[in-house]
C-alpha cells in the first residue's frame, strides 16, 4: 500500500492509504503504484484519483507538486478540494 497525504496551504485534506494513484502532472496524467522510484513532479490542474480498498476518492488540484519516496506519496498543492 501507498501512504498518501494531500496537503494544501490551509489544511491536510487527506491522510491514509491507497493502492494506486493517478495524478494530473504538468504534462499529462501520471500513475503511481507501490515500489515506485523516488520522484518529484510538478502538478497541473486536474483531478487526483486515489484508489484503495474503500473505493475511489477524487480531489481537484491546481499547481504544486507530487513527491514519491519509499511508497510515501505527498501531494502538495496550492488549491485543493475534495470531489
Amino acid at each position: 500500500m501507498l501512504k498518501v497525504s494531500v496537503i494544501s496551504p490551509e489544511q491536510t485534506l487527506y491522510e491514509g492509504e491507497a493502492s494506486s494513484i493517478v495524478a494530473p502532472a504538468y504534462d499529462g496524467e501520471v500513475g503511481i503504484l507501490t515500489g515506485h522510484a523516488p520522484m518529484m513532479a510538478l502538478l497541473g490542474t486536474g483531478t487526483l484519483r486515489l484508489s484503495g480498498s474503500a473505493g475511489e476518492q477524487r480531489f481537484k488540484v491546481e499547481g504544486g507538486f507530487l513527491q514519491v519516496v519509499d511508497d510515501v506519496v505527498r501531494v502538495v498543492t496550492e488549491r485543493a478540494a475534495e470531489l
Binding site: S5, P9, E10, Y26, M40, L42, F65, Q67
Partner: protein
Amino acid sequence: MAKGRELKGRIKSVEGTRKITRTMEMVATSKLKRAQDRVAAARPYAQSLASVLSDLYSPALAERFPLLRQPAAARRVGVLLITSNRGLAGAFNSNLIKEARLLLSRLEGQGAEIEFHAVGRKGLGYFRYVGRSIATSRTDLTDRPTAANAAELVDGMMQDFVTEKLDAVYVVYAKYNSPLSTPATAARILPVTPPEQQAIKRDYLLFPSAEAILSELLPLYVRNVVYRALVETAAGEQGARRTAMKNATDNAGDMLNILRRTYNRARQAQITQEIAEIVGGAEAQKG
C-alpha cells in the same frame, strides 16, 4: 448617605465593565482555539515545501533564479506590516508597530528607500498618523486569512523583486509560539533564504527538471511564508486579547472588593451614627 449612593454607582459600573471583559475573554478563548488549529493545519504544507526546496536547492542553481538573487545593496525595500484590526489586546499591536519602526529606521539608516504596506487597521492608523507614505493597505482581512489573501499581498512585491524594482522584502508579524508568547518579529522574505540543507539527498526522478520545479515552487514558498505570518498573527491577536481581558477581569474583581468594603463600612458607620442619635435623643428626653 450621599457617599454611599456614589459608591453604589461605581460598583454598578465596574460590574458592567467586568461583565464585558469576561465575555471578551471567553470569545477570545474560543477564537484562539480555532486560530491555533489553523496554525497547526498550515504546518504540513510548509514542511513539505521546505523539505523539497532543500532537496533540490544547490548554490549552482541559485544564480539562475531571480527570487534568489542577492542584491549587493538594498536601495528600495518593501516592508509588510501585519497588525490586527481591533484593539483591546494589550500591547499586541504596539509591539508590532515598535518592531516595524525599528526595522524602518534601521533600513533607512542604511540608505534604503521604503515601500510600506500595511495590513490591519491598527498599524495603518499609526503610520498614517506619523505621516509615512503607504503604498498599499488592507483592512478587510478577517480572523480567517486565506492562502489567496497571502498571494494577493505578496505577488506584486515578488514581481517587483524579479524586475529589480525592489531589492528586499521584509514582513513584520507576531510569531506564534504559544498563547502567552507572541513576539513581534521582522523576517526577510525576499531574497529567499533557502531552508536548511538536509543530510541525505535522494536521487529523484524529476519531471520536468530541478530548475523547473524550483522556479515553480519558490513563489509558493514565499506565499506560504506570508500566509503563515497572517495565520500566526491572527492567533497571536486572540491569545493577547485573552490575556489582556483576563487581567482586566481580575482587576475589576479586585476593584469591586475594595469598593464593596468601602461601601459597607460607610453604611455601617451611618447606622451606628443613627443609633447613637436615637439613644442620645432618648437620654435627653428623660431629662
